[in-house]
Symmetry: C2
Subunit: 289 residues, 2 copies
């Protein structure tokens, strides 16, 4: 089955369970609103691409891990958009969740999505129960303290921000979890897949920084220049547009080079090249693979 179909079906199943009876109707609607329609589903697609490159021995577990990563990502978006953080009006081309459902439901939706991520993984573990603890630890570390998404976001409240750690925690950690989880869920040795996720996470951050400066809000579905508005570090400010584009290309090359020898390596390189194309700045025609 196509990656998109696998991801959407697993997410639909998870949201139907969490939002089914006796769930309060508004929470059920908010859970669905937070997850559908999705963005590019970059992280779960990456996770499944790695699982496939590694032989995809336990596809139900791979699907669950990929979907859990997306649920955690969606949770972080809902909470990031809250008035006390970005105070965003728009997300994925529609009103931010707290604008549509109010702040209480936005807090609860984020919470319930975090819980659902771990619960869904546990529900799908019977295929390879010995892999469950490792996957849970991996996901927990990628979103909690001391160096997951929560920690990354919390650096924004500190006076002094170590930039590399901030980016690693806020963006890199879930990308690294995506590649490592894909390998783990496929029954492969996971550690050699971490660098790929880290490089792609960093590349995605640079691409996002470029997009923040150059993109048309109508097309990107979110307001422009949010980094300047919120006084957050941005690669274009630090390196200039051309420097940021060069950095992005170097990261994608390093990502490709980091792929360990495996049956599906060439196919994975193609998937990454195709999937990273929409995130390239305009005129950045040279494909990375």
């Amino acid at each position: 089955m196509d990656f998109s179909l696998r991801i959407e079906k697993t997410l639909q199943d998870a949201i139907s369970k969490a939002g089914g009876p006796p769930c309060p109707p508004k929470l059920a609607a908010a859970l669905r609103y937070a997850v559908f329609p999705g963005g590019a589903r970059v992280r779960p697609r990456l996770s499944l691409a790695v699982a496939q490159a590694c032989g995809d021995r336990f596809p139900v577990l791979a699907d669950a891990a990929a979907a859990s990563i997306e649920l955690l990502h969606c949770a972080s978006l809902v909470h990031d958009d809250l008035p006390c953080f970005d105070d965003a009006d728009v997300r994925r081309g529609k009103p931010a969740l707290h604008k549509e459902f109010g702040e209480p439901l936005a807090v609860l939706t984020g919470d319930a999505l975090i819980v659902l991520a771990f619960e869904s993984l546990a529900r799908s573990a019977s295929e390879a129960p010995d892999r469950l603890a490792g996957l849970l630890l991996l996901l927990g570390q990628s979103v909690g303290g001391p160096s997951g998404i929560c920690a990354g976001q919390a650096w924004e409240t500190e006076d002094t921000v170590p930039l590399a750690e901030y980016h690693r925690a806020k963006t890199g950690s879930l990308f690294a979890a995506a590649t490592v989880a894909g390998a783990l869920a496929a029954g492969a040795e996971p550690s050699q897949w971490r660098r790929l996720g880290e490089c792609l996470g960093e590349a995605f951050q640079v691409a996002d920084d470029i997009c923040d400066v150059t993109a048309d809000p109508e097309k990107s579905g979110k307001p422009a220049s949010q980094d300047i508005t919120h006084d957050r570090p941005n690669a274009v400010q630090q390196l200039g547009l051309e420097g940021a584009a060069r950095s992005l290309q170097a990261l994608l090359h390093e990502a490709m080079d980091s792929i360990p020898p495996c049956e599906g390596a060439q196919q994975l390189r193609t998937v990454i090249a195709v999937q990273s194309q929409p995130f390239m700045p305009k005129g950045f025609g040279q494909r990375a693979a």
Copy 2:
């Protein structure tokens, strides 16, 4: 080892991991602030009491499950106190977390505590890995949608609230998880322990309703009459003070009667009677066992 020591040590270890380097200093401090000093630790003590009654075969797992339940409870308190919910100034006799650290860190602290609960459990699963998936599902269901704490809290945003479901989700679910998790972690058949948790959860809710109406805010560490302020159902309003006290006693009796035959049944009855004593309204001298 004494229950309190076991619980505090496991919580300390968990918070030290989540708040250790490279955690941003304010998030590390906020995580500690949310969990220490604790309240009565009613839920984890109940969980360990059940584990002990069942033979406590896997004490590391029982400690982890008990601590995870407390971490989830602490997370719910931090988020409940936010301005968009109760807007509470005080919790456990000190400023509510968002008053001390600001709203962004309060949201992130709650999120990180939820993640930490699942992560800690996964970290302690090597003693009995076949019990991990069941414990995770149990905890997930007790705090997420469709009928965990998030769902319970979300009922407060609906126009029509089914009272029994509201209480079951908001308070009962984590008490039921505490007794079932204690049995599960001890290697016992868990389902026959659910009713005990449900009864104690309901009893705790009634005791809390009585406390909300009658307690001295100086001693209880939280403001009085919050239910009236926030237009929430309260057993004293529905049944009168004496009726509520009778309901509380009946629930405690049903709890005691529900304890399945096991080696430690009598000791467990004593533990429950002693631990429920501080929650009894004044003059409610007759012990339930």
